[in-house]
């Protein structure tokens, strides 16, 4: 299929500065879409999609800087698993979502991670493991510890949420945003020391001029 030429950084070629692409991965009905919808809905400033709930954008402020999330929802059904690697192209972050009441979805999330590894260099992508549906605690099949342990072994971020109760939802995204920005700063610092300062002061896209 279509070959990936290059992966443009978040501060890609033209225009919009600090756009981060985030893909939602996980098997069917673990609540990927709900998670994103809940998150976008919280913000009165953002415009809700009128027709579809598959592609969202949201501007996030982390400290002094702000970034724009582009959230790509993916089809979670098993049969589409084989083609979903196409979504990974050029992604900056990924949420591996599983349902805490379904063990199989947890295993599936681990499989997604393997697929992701094949397509992208994990060091370039912020990956977070998210256990959703904590509101159904009596049906829980995956414990918090299990999730945490796996996340740590793979050095992923980890959180448990409830999209239904809107518990920890925005925290998930802010954590990812923070991590992304930190990495940006680290990268910017590597070639040139004062890039980070510019990053924190002015409009973020200016950092680009210095970094390149």
């Amino acid at each position: 299929m279509a070959q990936a030429h290059r992966t443009p950084g978040p501060r890609a070629v033209s225009g919009q500065p600090f756009v981060f692409k985030l893909v939602l991965l996980g098997s069917g009905s673990v609540g990927k879409s709900s998670l994103a919808l809940q998150y976008v809905k919280n913000d009165f400033k953002s415009i809700l999609p009128t027709v579809g709930c598959a592609f969202f954008t949201k501007v996030v402020n982390v400290g002094a800087s702000s970034l724009k999330f582009e959230i790509w929802d993916t089809a979670g059904q098993e049969k589409y698993h084989s083609v979903c690697h196409l979504y990974f192209r050029g992604t900056n972050a990924a949420l591996l979502v599983y349902d805490v009441t379904r063990k199989d979805s947890f295993h599936k999330a681990q499989q997604w991670l393997k697929d992701l590894e094949k397509e992208v260099h994990l060091g370039d992508v912020v990956v977070m493991l998210v256990g959703n549906k904590t509101d159904l605690s009596e049906e829980r099949e995956v414990t918090f510890e299990e999730g945490k342990e796996f996340a740590e072994s793979q050095s992923l971020l980890f959180m448990e949420t409830s999209a239904k109760l809107n518990h920890q939802v925005s925290e998930v995204f802010s954590a990812v945003a923070q991590e992304l920005l930190q990495r940006e700063v680290r990268e910017a610092q590597a070639p040139q020391g004062d890039a980070a300062m510019v990053l924190n002061e002015g409009p973020t896209w200016q950092a680009k001029c210095c970094a390149h």
């Binding site: 030429h5 070629v13 919009q16 879409s33």
Partner: protein, 492 residues
């Protein structure tokens, strides 16, 4: 001879009357003193020379002009004519040719200032067999008009774009991947230059980039879309055949959450299919992407109407696959490859357009890999359907015929509706007749009743029996009245 001319009183030397070439025939001032035969020969020679010169000049000027302020009509005329055609149409072409050349001059003089700039970059190019269409000219013109609004930056961009286009001309023999690489590099360098050197704000950079893409890709399209050096065409045919072989796939098999029984939904489905097919007719990658996005929006609408809630990716991808299967868009792989190779990468990796494009890629990849399992069928069934031995619809039920195709279904529906209407009409007619009868009966009844009453109580006018003056005399109850009060005198 001289006698004759003297007699006529015209002082013309004999030699002047003869053909200048000295062939012995008479010449004619209209033919510059040549006889008709010599004039034709002379004229041809001169024309030939002039044509050649004009053509060279025209080509040179046209190159410059086109890159500056192309006038679409004049370009059209000159470009489509080749030298051999000139020779064929020598005599009747003169006027047209002259005006064309004139147009070149007037046009190029307008851009005198630009010319100096262009000259330096001008490559000693061989005559390019350029077949510019009206569209290309229009796009060039628009591009220049657009850049004008950016003054100096615009000029800079124009220069770069022109250099790139010239470079691409020589790279035509390279592999398509290399050409794509060049284009991508160009996008990147232009955008970067604009931001760092030109200090153009990001949102404007995006706009300019769109215009650049439109300009260069409209011109390169012919050479880089489905090029012969690749197997794109083979892939196109393969996917087309594959989709045709999968004609039996039903929405149920793909778990498509779209109910085409609802007229609005089937409307949306048709629109989505139209959009995805339309993609092939666009030249610019971004326009192609816009078609995909439009198609996707219709799909979302269709799902929303069916499910009464906004669609998620879990619903969207199957529906897109279904639409692609139903539409079988022409040159699907070529289009995808072309977009991937030549679209501005920032648009492809991110943004809504990028998202829907990725979904389309997924849909195509899925169709290529599609097997029994992904349709929840047994391998035998799948094989039988694929080989065309049976169709799932035939098996499902006997009344497959109304389901056979949308048109037939609609026809049955319409027939049903018509018969219902007919029934209603009859009922209305009956009721109306009944009402009419009732009304007539009612008037008759009233008339009869009135008649009866009139007959029963005939109207008699009796004369008054007693005069009114005797009204008191017969007052029989007078005695019942109390006696009138009498005045009484009290002592005291």
């Amino acid at each position: 001879m001289s006698l004759k001319s003297e007699r006529r009183g015209i002082h013309v030397d004999q030699s002047e009357l003869l053909c200048k070439k000295g062939c012995g025939y008479y010449g004619n001032p209209a033919w510059q003193g040549f006889c008709s035969k010599c004039w034709r020969e002379e004229y041809h020679k001169a024309r030939q020379k002039q044509i050649q010169e004009d053509w060279e000049l025209a080509e040179r000027l046209q190159r410059e002009e086109e890159e500056a302020f192309a006038s679409s009509q004049s370009n059209q005329g000159a470009q489509s004519l080749t030298f051999s055609k000139f020779e064929e149409k020598k005599t009747n072409e003169k006027t047209r040719k002259v005006t064309t050349v004139k147009k070149f001059f007037s046009a190029s003089s307008r851009v005198g200032s630009k010319k100096a700039e262009i000259q330096e970059a001008k490559a000693p190019s061989p005559s390019i067999n350029r077949q510019t269409s009206i569209e290309t000219d229009r796009v060039s013109k628009e591009f220049i008009e657009f850049l004008k609004t950016f003054h100096k930056t615009g000029q800079e961009i124009y220069k770069q774009t022109k250099l790139f286009m010239e470079g691409m001309h020589y790279k035509r023999d390279l592999s398509i991947e290399e050409q794509s690489e060049c284009t991508q590099d160009f996008y990147q360098s232009v955008a970067e230059r604009m931001q760092t050197r030109g200090k153009v704000p990001p949102e404007r950079v995006e706009k300019i980039m769109d215009q650049i893409e439109k300009y260069i890709m409209t011109r390169l399209y012919k050479y880089v879309f489905c090029p012969e050096t690749t197997d794109d065409e083979k892939k196109d045919l393969a996917i087309q055949k594959r989709i045709r072989a999968l004609h039996w796939v039903t929405p149920q098999m793909l778990c498509v959450p779209v109910n085409e029984e609802i007229p609005e939904v089937s409307d949306m489905v048709v629109k989505a299919i139209t959009d995805i097919i339309e993609m092939d007719s666009k030249r610019v990658p971004r326009d192609k992407l816009a078609c995909i996005t439009k198609c996707s929006k219709h799909i979302f609408n269709a799902i929303k109407i069916t499910k009464n809630e906004p669609a998620s990716a879990d619903d969207f991808l199957p529906t897109l696959i279904y639409i692609v299967l139903k539409g079988n868009p022409p040159r699907l792989q070529s289009n995808i490859q072309y977009i991937t190779r030549f679209c501005n990468p920032s648009r492809l990796m991110t943004g809504e357009d990028g998202y829907y494009f990725t979904n389309l890629c997924c849909a195509v990849a899925f169709i290529e890999k599609l097997d029994a399992q992904s349709l929840n069928l047994s391998q035998e069934d799948f094989d039988r359907y694929m080989s065309g031995q049976t169709s799932p619809r035939k098996q499902e039920s006997e009344n497959w015929s109304p389901d056979a195709c949308l048109g037939v279904k609609q026809m049955y529906k319409n027939l049903d509706l018509l018969s219902q209407l007919n029934e209603r009409q009859e009922r209305v007619m009956n009721e109306a007749k009944k009402l009419e009868k009732d009304l007539i009966d009612w008037t008759d009844g009233i008339a009869r009743e009135v008649q009866d009453i009139v007959e029963k109580y005939p109207l008699e006018i009796k004369p008054p029996s007693q005069p009114l003056a005797a009204i008191d005399s017969e007052n029989v109850e007078n005695d019942k009245l109390p006696p009138p009060l009498q005045p009484q005198v009290y002592a005291g």
